[in-house]
Structures are given as C-alpha cells and as structure tokens.
Symmetry: D3
Subunit: 137 residues, 6 copies
Amino acid sequence: MVYIIRRERFSAAHRLFMPENSDEENFRIYGKCSNPNWHGHNYTLFITVKGEVDPNTGLIIHLRHVSQLIDDKILKKVDHRNLNLEVDFLQGKVPTSENVAIGIWNELEFEIKNLGGTLHCVRLEQSENNIIEYFGN
Amino acid sequence: MVYIIRRERFSAAHRLFMPENSDEENFRIYGKCSNPNWHGHNYTLFITVKGEVDPNTGLIIHLRHVSQLIDDKILKKVDHRNLNLEVDFLQGKVPTSENVAIGIWNELEFEIKNLGGTLHCVRLEQSENNIIEYFGN
Amino acid sequence: MVYIIRRERFSAAHRLFMPENSDEENFRIYGKCSNPNWHGHNYTLFITVKGEVDPNTGLIIHLRHVSQLIDDKILKKVDHRNLNLEVDFLQGKVPTSENVAIGIWNELEFEIKNLGGTLHCVRLEQSENNIIEYFGN
Amino acid sequence: MVYIIRRERFSAAHRLFMPENSDEENFRIYGKCSNPNWHGHNYTLFITVKGEVDPNTGLIIHLRHVSQLIDDKILKKVDHRNLNLEVDFLQGKVPTSENVAIGIWNELEFEIKNLGGTLHCVRLEQSENNIIEYFGN
Amino acid sequence: MVYIIRRERFSAAHRLFMPENSDEENFRIYGKCSNPNWHGHNYTLFITVKGEVDPNTGLIIHLRHVSQLIDDKILKKVDHRNLNLEVDFLQGKVPTSENVAIGIWNELEFEIKNLGGTLHCVRLEQSENNIIEYFGN
Amino acid sequence: MVYIIRRERFSAAHRLFMPENSDEENFRIYGKCSNPNWHGHNYTLFITVKGEVDPNTGLIIHLRHVSQLIDDKILKKVDHRNLNLEVDFLQGKVPTSENVAIGIWNELEFEIKNLGGTLHCVRLEQSENNIIEYFGN
C-alpha cells in the first residue's frame, strides 16, 4: 500500500456564523471570523489517495486523473467563490475548516474509488498556523 | 545604511470591479477576481525600513515599535475585513494588490519617519505566485 | 473524528550534555550540540488535537482556547529561554528534541482534555531537517 | 515510542516509460514525463525512524548515523544521477516516485534496524504538489 | 512605479559541460553537475515587471497576460525538457542557471514591452540554496 | 552583470545587552532578547555575489568556492556557537541581527573579491518574521 498526495490551492471568502444567533453571540463563538462583511483565505488542500502500485506502470493511479477530479468536483466550485453562498456541498453548514474538509471528503470519496484508489486523508490548511485533517468516519 | 524587514500576515475578502462597469466588462478585465459574491486571500506583508545602525544599541530602530505600528495602522483595519467596504485608506480604490500596497505605503511612510527610520519597500504577497513591491514615488 | 493542528513557534538556547560525563564524552555522543557555551534554535511546534465536530458550531474545539493554552503552558516557559536552566518541565532531562516533545505532551495532555479535545500529536521541528513526532505512550 | 524525521534532498534526471511500449503509448500513460530526452527534479526525502528514547541520552538514535546512512546508501547513488540508468536499486523498474520511494525503503529498512531503530516512513516529494508516502508492506 | 512579480515553476534535465573539454576537465569545472547521464531540477522562476498603475483599473498590467506569455515563450519550451538538447534559446550555451536566466530575459524583454510593462528582473531558483538574479545589461 | 545567491544556515545562541546597563535597562531596550540565560535562533543567511558571466563556462564564479568560503570564514565560527562569547568578528558588539550581518559582510568582502566576484548583499533571517539586509557602506 502506497500513499500519493496531491496539493491544490484555492482562494475563497467566508463568514463563520449561525443565522439563528445574534452578531454578538456569533462573535463570542467565532471571534473576528464572524465579521458580517466577510473575510477570506488562500486555502491549501492536500488530498491523499492510497492504493497498490501497478507492477507494470509503477503507478498507484494516474495523478492527472486525481488532479482533474479535484479540479472538477472541488476547485471549480470553491476557487474565487464565497463558501457561504455559492458552494452546493456546503449549503446549510457553517463553513469552518472542519466542515469544508468533511465536505470535500464527501465529494471525492466515491469518485476516487471509481478511479481505482481509496481516499485516505483530506488536509486543509486555512493559514500557515491552522490546519485540519480528516480521514473519514 | 541597513535594511530591516518585518513580515506580517492578514486575511481579507475583496472583489475587483469598477462600479461604473457591467459585470461582463468587469469580468473581462479582472476575470474570476470580479465575482460579485467576493473571494479572499491570506496576504503576506513585508515592510522594509532603512536606517543607520545605532553604534551603542546595534539597532536601526526598535522592531517591536515597527511591528506595533503596522498592527495599529494596517492590520487592525484590514485583517478579517472586507477590503472594498471597510478600509478607510482604500475608499474609492479598486483593491488590487497594487492599490493595497500603495495604500499601505501611504499609511506608514510618515509614521516610520517619526520612529526614526525610512520606509523603503512594501511587499505584498497575495498568493505564492502573485506579488507586488512598491518603493514609493 | 477530525484533527486540528495549531502551529506555534519559539526560540530558545540549549546544550546537550549529561552532567556526569566529561566534555569529551558529551561531544562523542552529542557532537557540536554539546558546546558548553550553548547554542540555540527557532523551534516550530505543531499541536494536533482530535475530536468530534459539534454539529451546531462546525468546530471541534475553540482554536483560540488551544492557542491560549499553548501560550500559557508552553511558550511563556520556553520562548527566549534556556531549555537547560529555566524550564520547569525539563528539569533533570537532557533537552533533546525528543525530551522537549515528550515534555510538551505531558504539559498539554490533561489541559486539552479539559477543553473537550484529545491531544493526538506533538510535532517539534528543531530545524528544517530535524523533526520529532510524539503520540503519547 | 517516538518518531524522528530527517529531511534530505537530491536532484536527478529520469524518464517514465516502459521499454516494451511505443512512445505514443508511453505518452498516453505518463504524459510529458515520458519525454525521451529526460527531464528532472529536486527531490525532497523525509525518512522517519521510530524507537524508544534512551532515558540517559534522551535520544532515540544518533541522528548523524541516520544521516550518514542515508548519504551512503541513497544520496551517493541518486544525487545528480539518472534514475533510469545509474541506480542499482532501481534497475528494471520504472522510476516513478512510487517505485523510488519503495526502493529507498528496501535499501534502508535493514540498515536502520542495525542502528537500533525501526524505519517507519519514506516520504518523497517530487515537487511541491506531488508527494509519495510509503510505510512498508 | 510599481513592481509585480509572477512565480512559475518548471522541471528539466541538464548537464553542465563544454563539448571541447574532456570529461575530467568538465568535472574539474562543474563537479557532479557534469554527469554525462544528465541530472535535473525543479526550477522556480520569478518574473518581475515594472510599470505605472492605471488609475482606473488599479493594475499595472494584466497578470494573466504575463502568465500566458511566460507559458508560451518559456514554460512550453523548458518544462519536462532537456535544457541542453531541446530549447531553442539555449542552443550553443552551457545551461548554467546564469545562462538560463539570461536566455529567459532575452525571450521576454520585448514581449513584455508589447504588453505595456518593462521587464525588471528574472530570478531563477535552481534549488533552495542556489539562486540567480538578472536585471538585463 | 548577474547576481548569484547562496543560502546557508546556522544555529546559535545569543543575548542582546549592553554590559554597562542594568538588566532593567537592557530589558527596556531589547525586551525578552536580553534574557541573561541566553536564547537562540536558526539563522538563514543569503550571500549575493555579482559579476560578469564567463562566456566560456557560463558561470560568474564557482559557487562551491563561495560555499567553501562561507563555511570557512563564517559557519565554522558561528554554527552551534554563542555569538556573544565565541565569535572573533563580533567581539565588543551587541550581536543584533544588524551587527551580525555587518560582521559577516566585513569577513567576506575581500575574500569574495579574491575569488573574482563582488559581494553585493548579506541577508540574514533571524526568524521568518525578522530579516536584515546589508549592502555595504
């Protein structure tokens, strides 16, 4: 079993808040991340796929297929977008890094199986100091 | 003459557009950066100050004074903010990296002189691939 | 289960030696790290906490609580300090990266439980080339 | 159990192709990596060794022994070399990152055991975007 | 005057040698970089363009035009290529970083003028430790 | 004229203080950097040499000669050392980054001239946030 990791990047706006809460309550929970005028980040995304190495090709999976998949299913939806307003797989969720990482996992898990690999980890870096890793349920 | 460089970081939302233009025209000029629902970035800011080294202290300037100044005059205004809506020194400007860097220069130039140094360069990294440097007029 | 990672940094002096050994013997074991006049490093610390995502807030834990905890329990004690002379939780230990990482784990494990998370990993980078990871016993 | 990670770097040329295939077929599988005139990379290698910390020295293993071993068994063979033509432990393999990582594992596993540690992971970064991790069979 | 910097990357093989020299003489001059079986690098390229900021758009130049130009004139020729054998603008030159940077300057200088900017600097990083900067004659 | 930059690294202990001052006065000037028990850093050093490219070799200067020179004249003296106590070229100076950069310049300027290049810049990064550049008088 070998693990292959693909790094991708996207830039997006978001706001952390629960609509049923007052601004004060949201500020108490989320701090400056609850600014009603939005803020944003450059996100760095690391997708890890595990699989057996094909003894002929020396490859687990065609990495450009993985890259294409991430582009189609994730980047086209989130890059230069508003994570609260524009992303189907985040509808009804607070777009914390935790929820974004889980959402990306759910979008990719099946598709990567179809490519012949197994999704192992979604790592999402919201800044150089704050990082989420999700390995599925 | 010695140059001292201080790195700071902030995260903000913005949208590139000219209000007098149609969305189509703005898209033609700014591409996906003109998304009406905003997007955002982690910005990395490098402020270079030049000065003579004090032969007693071995310092050009007290770096924590520079850091405090950047915090008061810039970061408090831009971090976790919307660059189009909330930043006094960007009012009426398209918040391109070029204009943000020039705006930061204008906010800091005088204040750094008051600390006994000379502002030399504002370097603003909007992503790992796109960087602006401004050295004043 | 989701993992959240917080990066922090500190700068410290240390010397690797066993007091019962001669300088020659210490040099044989620790090389130039045993210099009796000390040397130092910029350490980069990654603290991983695991937990369930709260379905309401979308958060595992309040990251600023984790950050505050690391500051109180670790950074205040080690940053701009001498790891041999000034750090309570390293008394009587050779301040190798291994022992520093284990010491940090022991300081944080309970406290993070009190915040509602589980400490998963202490990663300590002493330089870009030398890194320790500790996951507890 | 503590994990120690040593980073090393090497630069090498390679070509991804199966000799029994036509250039067209190789291009279909490997894309531009099958260029018959070679291309190359700066590889970053992270070797993770796990072990118990010696309560006297505070060390798992002498890191300079690990570093010396990686130099002797790996870097001398691959740095500024052609991975297809010059590396004994890659003979008869397509030098994909997968196969290079597995080859490095096989070269080091026993030798690290002889030093008193256990090889845990070979991580090979072929570029900032493409990474392999191998943990043995 | 504002400076805009675009980062791009490419991976290539090369060999440093003068065809009129013996292998021994080439080794004396270029060390292991003269390996007749080639080696390679991930190159990081920073192209700096200077210009006035358009007061309407807030831009010096359309960065995607610069990026497209670098792709057409440079990356298509050098990425996943052999710098000795396959690059028209390096024919007859030893592909040292110095010569590659100068060659890239010569390819871009006029074209960037046509876009309305002025090429200011070509920075070429052959590894994290070895970097060339060229500002023209 | 082409510029070549060599990156090197060293780790050292230091303390910022003026011996004629009280600890309180030193703390007022240097903050926690005046801790009498020392602290330390991983320093990253970038040495820029400018020169003409030799039309035969394609090189400004033999980079391994520059690297060897930096090792002999700087790294052997500062790496894993105490900058206050053990470095001849810093005797009688407060080892601020400013003074360390100037000291390195003075050690290298003549020697690089002897190698056929011209020292252009000493850049010293004391941390990712604090950097000094010195270009000589």
